[in-house]
Symmetry: C2
Subunit: 278 residues, 2 copies
């Protein structure tokens, strides 16, 4: 983080994680990256819903209420900060050697948070994309949730940096469009929105859900979740991406194609700003 | 671990991991599980070779020498312990928020070790297996290396426990045999050994390599690495699995099939014991 992050483990200020921890050993856990405005978590309902889905898929014991309590406590340290980013991770805590989850797991929360310099409501800068070499693996048992096994994203983000672009478009093994390394992707086609269905891979982003459930309907736009052939991307009227920190960003360039006008993406961004609780 | 583990971070005795750490955040790292006999790491050359392959695939800066130094230092604490297990993890250390690896990453070593009660040379107990529901995802960029993204193994191990078997046979998405949740698998067919090729998924186990390069040749056995249809498993004359701690173990039961004699597996186990440096 640009400014030094403040860190809490199990609700207490900390500089280190007690060991052993299955989050470190196996990536056995989930996380959320939450935008704060004066300490108020944005779209928290969506974050907590996805967290709960992840905890259930991984068969964690009930711990959502404790995680939410720790999140609110940590967020309250940022009431004097206009914008901040908070990362909440929930791991399965310690356990004996071996992959099998302990019978009596005691999940652990790890929260880090830091101020963000940029006003998250300002007009978004259009971004440049390239196509990734890596593809997302198909794993229906983990699709959609934001778990801690993120080496594929690390490799994709490293590709983006090497290609000197803002992010990369990642396909699945069958050559269909999935997402960027750290954002969901939408196409604007004939006045409607299209986004890749999340069934075998990918993360069900909170802002993706927001676009589908609130922002697009508010503007009278239809949204379709479906399999998206890569050939459709550069044919689209607009492309835009979204995640919790960057919000909605139009795409200015991908491959040989450039876009200079983004009326739908900018209208959705405005709707996004109006929907934030600040 | 059954006995409390001793833990070292960056070569110093520790009880906690400094945060942030990309090993926790993303599983951005690799690990090895090493068997010690009176503090002497067994088949260390193979472990360090796989570690190096993993570090290179993940574009870590050079750190193998430091990791090996920390491993030897920690192992020396176990010279009076007949058998012990040591887990060496190397993470990409701390970094700013986001998936992309920092330009100047400083990798971190985390070592935990504990005594093992059982003599690792005693005759192995035959194990019971079931078929897993989960399949291993195909990801050629990560196949073979022992990285820290191990949620699939956690889910498979949880299945084994629920099925009250010792481990489960996991297939790939195409229905071919890969491995157990925590061991490589061999079939004995007409006097030769067959093991699934590791190209798109799975971990290239040190004991798998040992069987292929040393144990089978010493007994005049041919080994074939190839795609293995699941239907071949219960037709095999013998099945056995191997990993660094359990050594070589014959399979007594899988699905509707039981085996009661394991001449090849037991001969390989004897060869394995003779090959250990103790």
């Amino acid at each position: 983080m640009r400014s030094p992050a403040t860190i809490w483990v199990d609700g207490k200020l900390a500089a280190a994680l007690p060991l052993p921890d299955r989050g470190l050993d196996f990536g056995d856990g989930v996380f959320e990256t939450v935008l704060l405005w004066h300490g108020k978590p944005q779209f928290l309902t969506y974050h907590l819903a996805r967290l709960e889905t992840g905890l259930q898929k991984l068969s964690f014991p009930e711990c959502r209420a404790t995680a939410a309590e720790h999140l609110h406590m940590a967020a309250s340290a940022f009431t004097d900060t206009p914008w901040a980013v908070m990362r909440l991770a929930v791991t399965r805590g310690s356990g004996p050697r071996g992959y099998a989850a302990p019978d009596q797991a005691v999940p652990r929360t790890i929260i880090s948070a830091a101020p963000l310099q940029q006003d998250r409501k300002q007009a978004p800068s259009p971004i440049a994309l390239a196509y990734a070499g890596i593809t997302w693996a198909s794993q229906p048992a983990l699709a959609g949730i934001k778990h801690l096994n993120r080496l594929e994203q690390v490799l994709a983000a490293n590709e983006a940096r090497a290609a000197q672009v803002d992010d990369v478009v990642v396909l699945d093994g069958g050559g269909h469009v999935c997402s960027l390394s750290s954002a969901n992707l939408f196409l604007v086609e004939e006045g409607r929105l299209v986004t890749p269905a999340i069934t075998t891979t990918g993360i069900a982003g909170t802002r993706r859900r927001l676009v589908i459930e609130q922002l697009a309907p508010a503007l009278g736009l239809t949204v379709v979740e479906e399999t998206v052939a890569v050939s459709r991307l550069e044919q689209a009227a607009e492309l835009f991406c979204c995640n919790s920190i960057r919000g909605l960003q139009p795409v200015a360039r991908l491959g040989d194609t450039a876009w200079s006008e983004f009326p739908i993406a900018l209208a959705l961004h405005q709707q996004y700003c109006d929907t934030m609780t600040c």
